[in-house]
């Protein structure tokens, strides 16, 4: 009797000493979005290295690979429900984030999608947050750039019809471009369909001034290769999904000149204090991730890091790991000094106020010799 009591005491003490805060990480680590998935994971890992403890307890990252499938993302979410995590970081894309968000909202677990930009994601419920801006801003800014800055009168739009992000973004772009007086022609494709020759032949007589592509790199690289082979010399605009080394590496020199909107990198962040933090984080990142190439540091890394940072900040502010308290603290977060700028969730649906969208251009000599030029940054606060 006494012995078992002792053991029980020891067990309780032991579990107190071992107490850990579990945070789930649901990312696309293999499959079509593998490259950006691993970049995001690296961002989260470096942020974790900088802040490994909260409330005196170790933070343990539980990493789950959704294989870039909706089913995988749901399975990851269910696993996190069973493991009793405080919150989940990820997924990257809207198509994987939305199904996971539905599971986690029902279970009452916090989720911070690192870079889902479809407006629906955070409207699923009060436990769902995001780190990025939304596609209505991104689509409007890109369309304004195409019509005003590039002077496009006719725009061909390529959208991936089976992806929530691509479909939604193309819609916002189309709406704004039409409102500004441009003519548009939409062509659709689906995931893993890499032959674009027929669609390209369809836009030939339309003769667009600018081509907008709202999909991902797995199809984007072959798209660009075929576009140039088929004699189109027009400027191509992409979106944040093309902020992915798989794009220039897959298409090589054909990718030269591709301009896109994306999550802002340090140089484009207007707030000098935030830029300083981002630069310091960039330095840490290259120290910590040994084999990182210069092109591997992008907005996805910052988004991953800040998702971790705000969740830990919310746990600290709540003073406990009780999920409801942490959620309330997160929803009331104001001006948190993140590495991607100041983050405010107070008074929003879970989308941070005032994010910066960067404009970039690829300069590609070959698949191994390429760089990204930062053009300028625009705050979402400037867009009506």
């Amino acid at each position: 009797m006494r012995k078992s009591f002792l053991i029980a005491v020891l067990l309780v003490l032991g579990s107190l000493a071992m107490a850990q805060v579990k945070i789930g990480v649901n990312l696309e680590l293999s499959g079509r979005f593998a490259a950006i998935g691993n970049q995001t994971l690296n961002g989260i890992k470096v942020a974790h290295m900088q802040m490994p403890k909260v409330l005196g307890q170790d933070v343990q990252l539980v990493i789950c690979d959704d294989e870039t499938t909706r089913e995988g993302s749901i399975a990851c979410a269910q696993r996190f429900v069973n493991e009793g995590v405080v919150g989940v970081l990820g997924a990257i894309s809207s198509s994987m984030s939305i199904p996971a968000a539905e599971v986690l909202q029902d279970a009452g677990i916090i989720m911070i999608s690192t870079s889902s930009t479809n407006p629906q994601t955070t409207q699923i419920g009060k436990f769902i947050f995001r780190m990025a801006y939304t596609d209505d801003y991104q689509g409007k800014l890109a369309a304004a750039y195409a019509v005003k800055d590039l002077g496009a009168k006719k725009i061909a739009i390529f959208r991936q019809i089976d992806d929530d992000y691509s479909y939604g973004l193309a819609g916002f772009f189309n709406e704004t471009a039409k409102k500004m007086g441009a003519k548009t022609l939409i062509q659709d494709f689906v995931a893993n369909n890499v032959d674009f020759t027929a669609q390209l032949n369809n836009i030939r007589s339309f003769n667009p001034d600018v081509i907008y592509y709202s999909g991902f790199c797995a199809e984007g690289a072959p798209f660009m290769k075929q576009l140039r082979e088929q004699g189109f010399k027009q400027q191509v605009l992409g979106a944040d999904a093309s902020d992915d080394p798989q794009c220039p590496e897959g298409a090589g020199a054909a990718f030269d000149g591709w301009t896109f909107t994306g999550f802002a990198t340090p140089n484009l962040i207007p707030d000098p204090a935030a830029k300083k933090r981002a630069d310091a984080f960039k330095k840490k990142y290259f120290e910590a991730i040994k084999n990182a190439k210069p092109g591997d540091f992008n907005g996805f890394v910052l988004a991953g890091a800040d998702s971790y940072n705000v969740l830990v900040a919310a746990i600290k502010a709540a003073g406990s790991t009780d999920i409801n308290k942490v959620r309330d603290a997160l929803a009331n977060l104001e001006n948190y000094p993140g590495v991607s700028g100041n983050i405010t969730y107070k008074g929003t649906d879970g989308t941070p106020k005032d994010r910066t969208i960067g404009f970039y251009k690829y300069v590609v000599k070959s698949a191994s010799d390429w760089k990204k030029i930062e053009l300028f940054g625009k705050s979402t606060a400037e867009v009506q």
Binding site: A34, N201, R228, Q246
Partner: protein, 387 residues
């Protein structure tokens, strides 16, 4: 694979398809504006390339099915393996001499053993000549210079062929007498295994496959005021497909091993009683099928410029569809089915521009229709089920 009957039926069906195509094109010209002769030519060339790629992959499916009535679902992943081997052959050469020697011994040795077993090379003299050629050739290719796409293609075809033989020996041979469902499930398992092995070995990331070849150079010619664009690969792929179809057909119908193959296809047990080494014939079929998959993989990668471990999935399903449409088990059928599928996909987008995302739907509706009206495919024999 009765040659004459199949060929005449193939001709008939080709004529019917061509007529249908002309009718569709006529309608396209008539109903929608802006369709010029140049755009029609462009559509046709695009369809021809895509169709020939499907045909090339479908040939491998149909060969294996013809011999052991197994739908080899791992064929798409063998295709992926072939692309990766060619990718690494180009990326890693020239190698350090020690590494090259090691790879030569491992690769050359395996290839030698497999080829010896496959082609009954008993005479020591022939074996030694082959061994010398193999080892010297591989070492020369690996050690001294940056490999071009043609050498990489040949090396990858050999190595992938051997991988196919190993796959058969490990995954399918132990199940030879088992029910066909078990074989089918094993094939699916082999496919998953190869996909995951690919992710583990090659990394999950999409890699650029940038073969510096004249095949990728944009070319063009003019019709009237418009220009038609194409690349060298567009000419190459149909030619290679035609050549391979011819070589395969000759091999199957003219050589002794081909005769053994046909005998095994008709009835493996009786063939064995007549002295045909059935295991050898089946291994040979996998060897040839995998060689075709590697060739298709490299062509596909040059065409689309990128590779990843799951790249075999979609083309695999499409090529399987093509093989079934053409009549699985028939070589000309596979080519016909592939070309037809390519045509459908391209013309579906061209004829219904607003439905461009649903091109696969058109392809699979065609599959359903053909299965309803001609269950054995366009040129397939009417198979009476053997139990």
């Amino acid at each position: 694979m009765t040659a004459s009957k199949t060929t005449s039926r193939a001709t008939l069906i080709t004529i019917i398809i061509t007529l249908l195509l002309v009718a569709l094109l006529g309608w396209r010209f008539y109903s929608l504006g802006n369709y010029t002769l140049a755009r029609a030519t462009q559509d046709f060339l695009n369809a021809l390339t895509l169709g020939s790629l499907y045909a090339l992959i479908a040939l491998g499916y149909t060969m294996v099915y013809g011999i052991i009535r197994l739908i080899n679902f791992a064929h798409g992943d063998i295709f992926m393996l072939g692309s990766y081997l060619a990718f690494y052959a180009m990326a890693l050469t020239p190698m350090h001499w020690a590494a090259a020697l090691l790879v030569t011994i491992l690769l050359g040795g395996t290839v030698l053993l497999v080829i010896r077993a496959l082609f009954n090379l008993e005479e020591p003299k022939k074996t030694i000549t082959l061994a010398l050629l193999l080892f010297a050739g591989t070492f020369f290719l690996l050690a001294f210079r940056h490999m071009g796409w043609i050498e990489a293609l040949l090396l990858s075809m050999l190595a992938t062929g051997v991988a196919g033989v190993l796959l058969e020996a490990v995954a399918y041979r132990p199940l030879r007498g088992a029910p066909r469902e078990s074989m089918l499930i094993t094939a699916i398992a082999a496919s998953f295994f190869l996909e995951n092995l690919g992710q583990l070995l090659f990394g999950p990331r999409v890699r650029g496959f940038n073969a510096e070849t004249i095949l990728n150079k944009p070319l063009s010619f003019s019709i009237g005021h418009d220009t038609v664009y194409f690349t060298g690969i567009l000419v190459m792929v149909p030619l290679i497909t035609a050549l391979l179809l011819f070589v395969l057909n000759t091999f199957v119908s003219r050589t002794k091993l081909g005769k053994a193959m046909r005998a095994t296809a008709q009835d493996a047990e009786v063939a064995q009683m007549m002295g045909v080494n059935v295991n050898q014939v089946i291994a040979l079929t996998f060897f040839i099928g995998s060689i075709l998959a590697a060739a298709a993989g490299v062509m596909y990668s040059i065409r689309f410029g990128q590779i990843h471990p799951l790249m075999g999935l979609m083309p695999g399903i499409k090529a399987f569809t093509a093989a079934v449409i053409g009549g699985i088990g028939s070589l000309p059928g596979a080519v016909l089915g592939g070309l037809l599928l390519g045509m459908i996909e391209i013309y579906a987008v061209s004829l219904f521009p607003t439905l461009s995302a649903y091109r696969d739907v058109f392809a699979f509706v065609l599959l359903i229709l053909i299965m309803l009206f001609r269950p054995s495919g366009l040129v397939g024999e009417d198979l009476t089920e053997k139990v």
